[in-house]
């Protein structure tokens, strides 16, 4: 593991520019023998708090004619409802709406928190604050949750008959069907992790080279890509659940 700032580039990199690239350095917390990546926890707690505040404000006093925050929250929920309904269909989507919405809002919040909030102003002893989704552990956890969710959904609906789908369309495809259960979480986690990290790296490298104006369009692209990745993750999660249910 090495840090990009070890290169001679650090000659143009002073604290005023706030630009260095750090990968593989973390702000370690040691809790009961477990080593945790502290920066991920801090930022995701911020995101969770923001989402809680939003849902509290949105549901504080409900009116028949929505106003202010309730309006905004309802629009958000309708958007995530559309994601779930398009994939899961009218008959199943209601049960899975909380899961799909939570995935969407959390990933969206994480990506935007990393892209918008100027975390560089807060200096940690080691590592740096950034989007929690740029850590492979976060995305792997989310992807494994999705795996658990579709197994649970399939087993709950069909019992042990769920495993019949491994023999379809022919038993010859059994190994490929089993392999699919591993590639699904793998591709989900790598896609999200790679996209978020790629955005941050591109911005960091550009800022390192040309600190003003030029990185701005890339930052806008990063914000856009962050929302699209959240949409894709939740859409795919809903699609996998639907596949297990039908």
């Amino acid at each position: 593991m090495f840090i990009l700032k070890d290169y001679p580039m650090h000659l143009i990199n002073n604290s005023l520019l706030l630009a260095n690239v750090e990968i593989g350095t973390h702000y370690y917390w040691n809790i009961g023998g477990l080593i945790l990546h502290g920066q991920v926890f801090i930022v995701s707690w911020v995101v969770i708090t923001l989402l809680l505040i939003l849902s509290y404000l949105g549901a504080k006093n409900l009116n028949r004619i929505p106003e202010n925050w309730q309006n905004f929250t309802e629009a958000t929920v309708e958007f995530t409802q559309d994601i779930a309904r398009n994939q899961l269909g009218e008959s199943y989507y209601r049960n899975w709406l909380p899961f799909v919405s939570t995935l969407f809002l959390f990933i969206f919040g994480c990506n935007w928190a990393g892209a918008i909030i100027p975390w560089k102003l807060i200096i940690l002893p080691e590592g740096e604050l950034a989007a929690p989704t740029n850590d492979i552990n976060t995305t792997a956890a989310l992807a494994l949750l999705t795996s658990l969710a579709y197994f649970y959904g399939g087993l709950r609906k069909k019992g042990l008959g769920y495993f019949k789908r491994y023999l379809e369309p022919t038993p010859i495809l059994l190994p490929i069907n089993i392999l699919e259960d591993f590639t699904k979480p793998l591709s989900l986690s790598f896609r999200l992790f790679g996209n978020v990290l790629a955005d941050e790296l591109t911005i960091s490298v550009l800022v390192l080279l040309i600190p003003i104006f030029i990185p701005l369009p890339i930052m806008a692209l990063g914000i856009f890509a962050g929302s699209v990745q959240a949409l894709i993750f939740s859409t795919l999660a809903a699609a996998y659940i639907h596949e297990a249910l039908e």
Binding site: M1, F2, I23, G24, S187, F190, R191, F193, G194, N195, L197, A198, A225, V228, Q229, L231, I232, T235
Partner: protein
């Protein structure tokens, strides 16, 4: 770090992103071209086409990202360095 391993890793990292970009590049070009064709033929469904296009473009993008993940693993978390 052994210099041979370092050199091979850097070359491999460059190749993994570069080669992974070829296929999705062609695919995204085809998809975008077809989408433009569709919009030109039926401008009234533009919003639907745009949504589907963005979603499928992001899927193709993911393939390059896999190459990028391999490149990052080679550069920052190389498993062959003891």
């Amino acid at each position: 770090m052994d210099s041979i391993i370092a050199a091979a890793s850097v070359v491999g990292a460059g190749l993994s992103v570069g080669l992974a970009a070829i296929g999705p590049g062609i695919g995204q070009g085809t998809a975008a071209g077809q989408a433009v064709e569709g919009i030109a033929r039926q401008p009234e469904v533009e919003n639907k086409i745009r949504g589907t296009l963005l979603l499928s473009l992001a899927f193709m993008e993911a393939l390059t990202i896999y190459g990028l993940v391999v490149a990052l693993a080679l550069l920052f978390a190389n498993p062959f360095v003891s």
